[in-house]
Symmetry: C2
Subunit: 346 residues, 2 copies
C-alpha cells in the first residue's frame, strides 16, 4: 500500500510500504477513506532531523474496517469508523477518568513514527475496541469532513475550552487562527462564553472564526496584542486564554492577556520546555495553567451528536482536498498558509 | 515605637521608628498584641541585598484597634482584630470573586518594605474595613496562636488544598514540613483527602504532620523522593501535589510526584522565574498548575469557626515565643531550623 513518510525538514514523500496485517488479537485493519494534515505535522515539517526519520505521518482518519483480530468484539468488517489521535483501551483508570491520552495500556500511544499513520491507504489499529468509534452514516456522507475533525481538531478545540472551564460567565481569548484555534472558538461559543477574542491575522480564517462565534479579532501580536485584549476587557484581560499555537511567544502573549485568577489553557504542542511561571508571570495573580493532548476519544460521541443534528459544522476548517499524491504539496501549502487544513482522500 | 527592619542578608534589627498615624480616612491604627516570623521572611533573610533595605518586616498580626479614620465604619477603638497578609477593599470585582490578593484598589498590597510591618508595636492599616476581621475573644485567649495563623499560614495551607481541588477522592502529596506545609496537610485532611504524603525530614515537624493528618511521610528528596511517592500510590503519583517550599527543586519534585491529569498547587513563593512546563513535564499528561498568594482574607471567617469550636488547632505550628528584642534571634533559629515558627509578643 501507499503511505506518507517524512524524511526530514520539508521532505515528505508518498511511498509503497508493506500492507498492514493483524498482529495482536485486539487489532483491526482499517482502509482509510478520509484523512488530513494537522497543524502539528508542520512542527516536524519545519525542523525534523533526518536521523529521526523516516516517520509515518497522519493521526486523523476515518475508514472502513477490513479485518479484526480474534478478541475484537465491538467492530466488524464493513464498519465505518473514526480514530482519535491516540490509541487507548478505554477501560483503564485513566480512560475511565476521561484522560485517554494517558491510557496505561502498553499499546496505548500516538499514531505515526514507527507506527502506522493515517495519511495512508490503510492502518493497523491497536486496541481497536477501545480506540475506534463507529460512524452512523454512509462513507460518502456530506458530513464526512466534520466527522473527520472528531479525530483531533474538534476534540482538541473542545478540550481547550473545557480544560479552561469556559462557561457563560467567561471571557475567552483564543491565540491562533489555525483549525484548532477556530474550533476552540466554536467550542467556547457552544459553552456559552460571554466574549471570545480571536488573535489571528489571516483574514479568511478570522472571518471563519467570527462565523464560529468570535466577538472580537485582534491581529497584533506580543505585548501589543495582549494590550489590545486588555483594552477590550476593561483593562483586566480574559478569564481564559487558549493557546492553540504552542510557541513560547504565544505562551508569553497568553500571560499578558489573562486576567488575575484566570487560566491559560494550552493545546498547541509546546515548542519549548522552560518558560516563565514564577512570581512575575503566573504566581502573583494566581494564574492557572492547564491543557495538554486532548483525550479526543472521550469527546467523540458527545461532539458527534452536534454534527449529526446539524448544530455545528467543524468541517468548514477544510479548505482544500487532495489524493495521496498531493500530500507533499498539501504540507507545503499549509506551511505557506495557503491552505488552512488539507483533507486527503487516499 | 519599635519595629523590625531587615537591612540585608542575615541582618535583622529592632529599632525605634516614628509612631504610625492615620493618613487616609479609611485607615486604622492597630497596636500589635501578637505577630510572628514567616517562612517566607527567610527568603530575604537569606539573600537580601543592602540596596533593597531597610525593609519593615512582618505580615501576620493580631492587635487592638487604637484609632480609626473618618470613613471606617465597621471597626472601633478597642476591637481585637486579625490582619490577613494583604490589604484589600473587600468590595472590588476580584475581592467579590474571593481573590483578595489581586484587589484592584490602589492601596491594596502586601505588608512590609516601605509599608508598616507586623513585627512591630503598632501598624497603620490601609483599607481597614476591607482588611481587618474582628476576633470574638479576649486578647489573652488561649486560642490566640491559632487565630494568628489566620493571617497567613492557615489560609495559605487551606488555599493550597482548595486550589488543588482536594476532596475525599484525592490523594495528596505535600512538599515541605514548614508551617504552611503542615497546615496544608491539616487542610487536605479537613477536605477529606484519602491519602496525604508529607515530604519532609525534620522528625518533630513530620510528627506534627502525622497529628494533622498525614498518612505517610517521605524524607527522601528529588527524583528519589518522587519515586517513593509513586511507590506509595501504585506507581501513579498523587492527584494533587502541594509545593509549600518554592524552590525549583521542590517544583521538579512536584512534577515527579504528580499523577497524569493531576495538579501541582504552589503556595511557596517561587524562587525562580523559568521552569520546565513543556511536553516532557506538564503537557504530555495534562498536568495542571495552580496556586499563588492565598487570598487569606477570603478564608478568615470560615477557618476561624473551626478554631473557635475546637475542631482544629493550627497554632500548634508555633514552637517558640519571644518579645520584640528576640526577633533577630527568632529569624536565626528559624533559618537554622531550630524553631518551626516563632510567635512574637511585642
Amino acid at each position: 500500500m501507499r503511505a506518507t513518510l517524512m524524511y526530514g525538514t520539508g521532505d515528505v514523500r508518498v511511498e509503497d510500504v508493506p500492507d498492514p496485517v493483524i498482529r495482536q488479537p485486539t487489532d483491526a485493519l482499517v482502509r482509510v477513506t478520509a484523512s488530513c494534515v494537522c497543524g502539528s505535522d508542520l512542527w516536524p515539517y519545519g525542523s525534523m532531523r533526518p536521523e529521526d526519520g523516516p516517520a509515518r505521518m497522519g493521526h486523523e482518519f476515518v475508514g472502513i474496517v477490513e479485518d479484526v483480530g480474534s478478541e475484537v468484539t465491538t467492530l466488524a468488517k464493513g464498519d465505518l469508523v473514526v480514530a482519535p489521535f491516540a490509541t487507548s483501551d478505554n477501560t483503564c483508570e485513566f480512560c475511565r477518568a476521561g484522560l485517554h491520552t494517558s491510557c496505561g495500556h502498553a499499546q496505548a500511544g500516538f499514531w505515526g513514527g514507527l507506527r502506522d499513520g493515517g495519511q495512508a491507504e490503510a492502518v493497523r489499529v491497536p486496541l481497536a475496541d477501545g480506540t475506534l468509534v463507529k460512524l452512523p452514516v454512509p462513507p460518502d456522507s456530506a458530513l464526512m469532513p466534520s466527522l473527520l475533525t472528531l479525530s483531533d481538531v474538534f476534540g482538541t478545540g473542545h478540550h481547550a475550552a473545557v480544560a479552561g472551564g469556559v462557561d457563560e460567565r467567561t471571557r475567552v481569548t483564543v491565540i491562533g487562527d489555525g483549525a484548532v484555534g477556530l474550533l476552540a472558538v466554536l467550542s467556547a461559543r457552544r459553552l456559552g462564553a460571554e466574549q471570545i477574542v480571536l488573535m489571528g491575522r489571516h483574514r479568511a480564517r478570522t472571518d471563519l472564526g467570527r462565523e464560529f462565534g468570535a466577538t472580537d479579532v485582534v491581529s497584533a501580536r506580543g505585548e501589543e496584542g495582549a494590550a489590545q485584549v486588555r483594552d477590550l476587557t476593561g483593562g483586566r484581560g480574559t478569564h481564559v486564554v487558549i493557546d492553540a499555537v504552542g510557541t513560547l511567544a504565544a505562551y508569553e502573549q497568553a500571560v499578558g492577556a489573562v486576567r488575575p485568577g484566570g487560566v491559560i489553557s494550552r493545546v498547541g504542542i509546546p515548542q519549548y520546555e522552560e518558560a516563565p511561571i514564577g512570581f512575575g508571570s503566573l504566581f502573583r495573580d494566581n494564574i492557572r495553567l492547564t491543557g495538554g493532548p486532548a483525550p479526543a476519544r472521550a469527546y467523540i460521541e458527545k461532539l458527534m451528536s452536534g454534527i449529526l443534528d446539524g448544530a455545528v459544522e467543524p468541517g468548514k476548517v477544510f479548505d482544500a482536498t487532495t489524493d495521496l499524491d498531493g500530500v507533499p504539496a498539501g504540507y507545503r501549502d499549509m506551511a505557506d498558509r495557503k491552505s488552512l487544513k488539507v483533507l486527503i482522500k487516499p
